[in-house]
């Protein structure tokens, strides 16, 4: 098994906003190995979220290549990209993006259900994962009845429940206070150090950067450090 989980080679991405081209990625090269905890840092518009999105197959590069767990994303159809995300990648979003009509446990089990895991197995796995993020008692609550920190923990539980190869987190602390952020980062550190999970975050929060093993700084779509 290769240690390389993510490889980005010469990735470029240009957005045409109001007919004015914006260079979001300008020839980015990046390697992320198994067990890494990488923080993509930089000011707004530096390209960190775009880089995270192309790694996650949510956006496509104009040139260059992206591979995740030895699978090249170039040329994959939308459905194939969906299948790859489902099988290999866990996502944590800035705004949690939980399904408001599902309970915490159902939100966590949702990915497993998409994967076709049996009901009994996914229920057990969802409970274990919620317990791992410290929310065993809140499994029957709807997202609307939970705090921002609790919702983000449910989002992390959802992202890791299926044991993905890679966990991508886009500004995971943006809507959290510092105390909650600390708890969240301790959880990510635990997942990385104790569970061996590979994590890539995009953030401009110094606290998040401090917890990462490796910081990658971007400016104007290029890696500067």
């Amino acid at each position: 098994m290769s240690d390389e989980v993510v490889r980005v080679s010469g990735a470029t991405r240009v957005y045409n906003e109001d007919t004015i081209p914006v260079q979001a990625l300008a020839g980015v090269d990046l390697r992320v190995n198994r067990g890494d905890f990488v923080s993509l840092a930089g000011p707004s518009g530096s390209g960190k979220s775009t880089l995270l999105n192309v790694i996650g197959g949510l956006d496509r590069v104009d040139s260059g290549e992206v591979t995740v767990d030895q699978v090249s994303l170039t040329g994959l159809s939308e459905s194939e990209l969906s299948d790859l995300r489902l099988a290999k990648i866990g996502f944590v979003f800035q705004a949690y993006n939980l399904l408001s009509v599902l309970t915490a446990e159902e939100n966590v089990a949702f990915i497993l259900q998409l994967q076709g895991v049996s009901k009994s197995v996914r229920a057990e796995r969802a409970r274990e994962t919620l317990a791992a993020v410290g929310l065993a008692d809140l499994r029957d609550r709807l997202p609307g009845d939970m705090s921002g920190g609790q919702q983000q923990r449910v989002a992390i539980a959802r992202a890791i429940a299926a044991d993905p190869v890679l966990l991508l987190a886009d500004e995971p602390s943006a809507n959290l206070d510092s105390q909650t952020t600390t708890g969240l980062l301790e959880l990510l550190r635990h997942l990385n150090e104790d569970e061996g999970m590979t994590i890539v975050t995009a953030t401009h929060d110094p606290m998040v950067m401090a917890y990462a093993k490796r910081q990658v700084h971007l400016r104007d779509g290029a890696i500067v450090v």
Binding site: D59, V101, I111
Partner: protein
Amino acid sequence: MALPIALIAQLSLRNIVRHRRRNLMLLVAIAVAVFTVLIINTLIRGMQADMQELVVSNLNGHFKVHAPGYRDDPSIERGFKLAVDWAPANPSAIEGWAARVRIPAVILSERETRGVQFVGIDPAQESISFLGTAEIDGSLLSSADDRRLLIGKEMAAQLETRVGRRLVIMTQGADGLNREAGFRIVGTYDTDGTTIEKQFVFTGRNALQKMVGAHVVTEVSVRVDDDGAHRTIGEGLAAFFADLEVKTWQQLEPLTASYVLFADSAIFIYYFIVMTALIFGLVNTLVTSVMERVRELGMLRAVGMRPGTVVAQVVFESTFIMMIGVALGLAAGWLVFQALPTDIDMTSWVEGADKFGIPNIVRLRLQIGDIVLVTFLSILFGVLASLYPARKAVSISPVEAMRR
């Protein structure tokens, strides 16, 4: 990968409940549309069936046999001999049949004179015609030998006569000479249409044959009981009466046949008008609903739900709402259909319509085929209406969707 049906159903049902007020309004709109279509259908089907029944029972039957040229020149010379023991083949598929002598005649009372169709019948065979259900003042003819008259109530009024009085009938005999005879009125009949009452005067078949001097009949009407046997019976009659004409009721009354066919189209047209109006509302509501959830749908795709599965979820939601609405509409329609009187008197709405062969009394009819049609098309419309917003939802990239 197979569609995660259980997951789609779970999310769809929860979303329907989440937007319960909007979906309730949508359900009511669908139910009202289906209910309206169903009730109008029962009315149109009732009028359609009643018009057909009127024509069939108007001495036509489903098939009628007569000599070539009789329809243009309905005289006794166009009569034909019918074996005494003749009966149609396949009796289990036949409701009944009647052999008649029908010739033009002039009827005279002390005060008035009228031209009529003088019909010699065997009353035992006339359960297949309107005489089987007409209200009779006095009594029916007793047999084919009965030499009395049964006239229409309207005719009696025009001739200013009544049961028990005598009338004179003039017609042409088989020898071409005029025949004239006096008859006593045994009864008057009352039907839905006054035209019929003014048109037909009945006596015993044998009595009329004796009067015109020819032991022939001019027509045989056959009424079919089994709808699936029409073709076989028609072919059987045509083969047996090879030298005669065998006409269907549609050939004898093409105007009514056209109306009956048009009624089928009218149901479709009406249904499409109502459902098209509904579809606009449905699409509008679904687009609003989907656009409100575009961020959520983007997230579903981001975490690995295929675009096709997202489309399936939106389609499932709208189809489910459609199915519930259709079920409610059908249930309401069925309850109202059960509560309404069997016969609806339309006299005050369509006064004089009977002169055109449209019955004053409409019997509502609910056909299983119409229920199946309404259900199937409604669900089909629901699926089609939801495809546009569903496709629109997945046309937005997950990243763009989650930014909204």
